[in-house]
């Protein structure tokens, strides 16, 4: 797989990779671009581009607002694919589509895979699409070497982690805690145990998301996971002070 291979290569050079997140068209595609430039500056390895959806039920307040404002300002999936194409052409990091299943369902699985591939994406994260329902889409993904990202969570039983591990490709998205995006996560023994359990059921690189926001979190994760996912924290920084504060955020994070 393209994505897994990419990650493994990067992991040769860095002990903890970084994936960041951008909500397409929020506040605007121009802002997105400037965010991405900074992320690239700081050597981010992967970026999720979230396709805005009207019912973002797994997201926390900040992303909910971002989704809604993007939808109501008229951001459409075609705009997002177009933007993705430009991003992939220009930046060195890998790009994943992130969003809710209805966006893919409504355009049709075929069309979704086709367009994602054409836009240069190398996978997708659809948090409301459980593996049982993902069969056809995962199958189609293979034809374009796209990685369907599977999430593992602390509430999953071992049996369930086994099923999830078997379905996963590219990397595992390990959800650091219960709840929606944007809350606080305690980096402690529970998380460590959980990540240990994940590793039992997958050989793929493990990315940790939900509440990763500062240097200490990265220090904690080093050695226990392969990728840190920065979501809400970066958007917060951007909203606070644009480019300057996003730069400060990343330099603190990676200091």
């Amino acid at each position: 797989m393209v994505l897994e291979q990419y990650l493994r290569e990067r992991l040769q050079q860095k002990d903890l990779l970084l994936m960041t997140h951008v909500v397409c068209g929020y506040p605007s595609f121009e802002d997105n671009w400037r965010e991405l430039e900074i992320m690239a500056e700081f050597g981010v390895d992967m970026v999720e581009l979230q396709f805005p959806f009207s019912e973002p039920s797994a997201d926390g307040p900040l992303f909910v607002k971002a989704n809604q404002e993007a939808v109501s300002s008229g951001v459409r999936p075609t705009d997002c694919f177009e933007f993705m194409r430009k991003v992939c052409d220009h930046f060195p990091f890998k790009v994943l589509m992130m969003g809710y299943y209805n966006t893919a369902f409504k355009m049709g699985h075929d069309s979704f895979i086709q367009q994602l591939s054409a836009a240069g994406g190398c996978g997708y994260i659809l948090p409301d699409l459980p593996v049982e329902e993902a069969g056809e889409l995962h199958q189609l993904s293979k034809t374009k070497e796209l990685a369907p990202i599977v999430l593992m969570t602390p509430t999953n039983t071992d049996a369930r982690l086994n099923v999830l591990g078997a379905a996963a490709e590219g990397f595992i998205y390990a959800v650091a805690r219960k709840g929606v995006t944007g809350g606080q996560t305690e980096m402690g023994d529970d998380l460590k145990t959980f990540l240990g359990r994940c590793k039992q059921y997958t050989n793929l690189p493990v990315a940790v998301g939900f509440g990763v926001s500062q240097k200490a979190d990265l220090d904690f994760l080093r050695g226990k996971a392969d990728i840190a996912i920065i979501g809400t924290a970066a958007l917060k920084a951007w909203k606070m002070g644009g480019e300057d504060s996003l730069r400060v955020f990343f330099s603190d994070l990676l200091s």
């Binding site: 019912e55 999936p77 409504k106 369930r160």
Partner: protein, 415 residues
């Protein structure tokens, strides 16, 4: 015909509709719920416990009333009404809610959450929580909080915390999203009491299971009262719980089943909530399940409208989507205007005040009865009572005395 045998092996699916589309974090919780529900469903003492609870607490069985005046006036079919309005808290919502209360107790959970649009389901859930001793938080779109204050008032007095949801359109669907967010955070001690036969499996099946009490009673009663099975059964369809509740009583009979949706300002207006009766909806996946949604080409949900807050929803019971495609249930819509006229007619002719939601079912029955034979029988499900709608009804009929009263009250309150 069993709706729930899942003989094709796809548990939770009704034809192409239904399923479970939830964040992975909820997988264990939903599985636990599914198993608990399976256990309850297979345990005959559970149903007996439920029926007993509803008998002693909610006044079930609710009766079937013959509307002789209305029948004579329309000159066609004989019209009967199943009186869910006589339930404790004033609507069929209590059936589902008390059932889920029993489930929650079995799950050993101490806290319930619920979404509500009109406020009926929130009112019922707050009532159930008080009775079972659960903590209770109700999510309600801020727009609905503003327009349904009486229900909010009672929920709070019943001890529930009511959270005004400020996202999205700030109505029912946004309250559901907020519930899902609460649930993914607090699933360990919290049961989500979904209010209609929508959402991820097992909710459509579970809600249908409890609401089936309506149809079970109604079938016996109509035979007793009318001397025969009904020719047509009318029920309003918001999420689709009262409809599937009564329809289940007649699934295997030669009885036409009619679901009545919110026609709002009519077809083509863009201001309605008719998923199946009009052409505007398409299949999608949202809020945990697959069904027909009022959505645009990108899969983003549309604004909906109805005079009845309880019908004002983007999606529909997946079982009904399937039964519609299989031509087992006919779908129609009643416009706001038809509903207004029908409410006036029913109040004056029979002394009943159906909820605006239920009045949709009356509206279609009133439209069709005159064309039916005098030997034919119509059964309408009166899902709730209309007292709760006083602000809406007073607004739509522009009652000046009412406005005067409110203005005077406001002055009393220091306005």
């Amino acid at each position: 015909m069993s709706l729930f045998d899942f003989a094709d092996g796809r548990e939770g699916y009704y034809g192409d509709y239904g399923g479970t589309f939830l964040p992975e974090i909820l997988a264990t919780t939903v599985e636990e719920l599914r198993l608990c529900f399976r256990g309850c469903k297979e345990d005959p003492t559970f149903w007996a416990e439920f029926v007993e609870l509803m008998r002693t607490y909610s006044g079930r069985p609710t009766p079937v009333s013959y509307l002789e005046n209305l029948s004579n006036k329309l000159g066609g079919a004989r019209i009967y009404v199943k009186r869910e309005d006589l339930n404790h808290t004033g609507s069929h919502k209590i059936n589902n809610v008390m059932g889920q209360g029993l489930i929650c107790k079995r799950l050993g959970k101490k806290r319930v959450i619920a979404e509500t649009g009109a406020g009926q389901h929130g009112f019922a859930t707050a009532t159930m929580a008080a009775r079972f001793g659960f903590d209770c938080k109700i999510y309600m779109g801020a727009v609905d909080v503003a327009r349904q204050r009486p229900n909010v008032f009672w929920m709070e007095n019943l001890g529930a915390e009511v959270m005004a949801v400020q996202d999205g359109q700030r109505t029912l669907k946004d309250a559901i999203n907020e519930c899902l967010r609460d649930w993914v955070t607090n699933m360990a001690d919290t049961h989500y009491v979904l209010g209609t036969a929508c959402g991820p499996h097992p909710f459509p099946e579970m809600v249908s299971f409890f609401q089936a009490i309506i149809g079970k009673e109604a079938r016996q009663q109509i035979i007793q009262e009318a001397g025969k099975l009904p020719d047509r059964v009318f029920a309003c369809v918001g999420g689709g719980s009262n409809a599937i509740g009564i329809f289940q009583g007649f699934m295997d009979d030669n009885v036409e089943l009619i679901g009545v949706e919110a026609g709002g300002h009519g077809p083509g207006s863009g201001l309605h909530a008719a998923r199946l009766a009009y052409d505007d909806a398409s299949v999608g996946v949202a809020q945990g399940f697959k069904t027909y949604f009022l959505q645009n080409n990108d899969g983003n949900m549309l604004e909906t409208h109805s005079i009845a807050a309880g019908l004002d929803y983007i999606g529909i019971n997946p079982i009904l989507s399937d039964l519609w495609e299989k031509d087992r249930v006919r779908f129609e819509a009643a416009t706001d205007e038809m509903v207004r006229d029908t409410l006036k007619l029913v109040m004056r002719t029979e002394g009943l005040i159906p909820a605006l939601e239920s009045t949709h079912a009356f509206a279609l029955a009133v439209a069709e009865a005159p064309k039916m034979g005098k030997d034919e029988v119509i059964l309408i499900n009166q899902s709730g009572r209309g007292d709760k709608d006083i602000f809406t009804v007073a607004d739509t009929i522009e009652d000046d005395h009412w406005k005067e009263f409110i203005k005077n009250k406001a002055v009393e309150y220091g306005a």
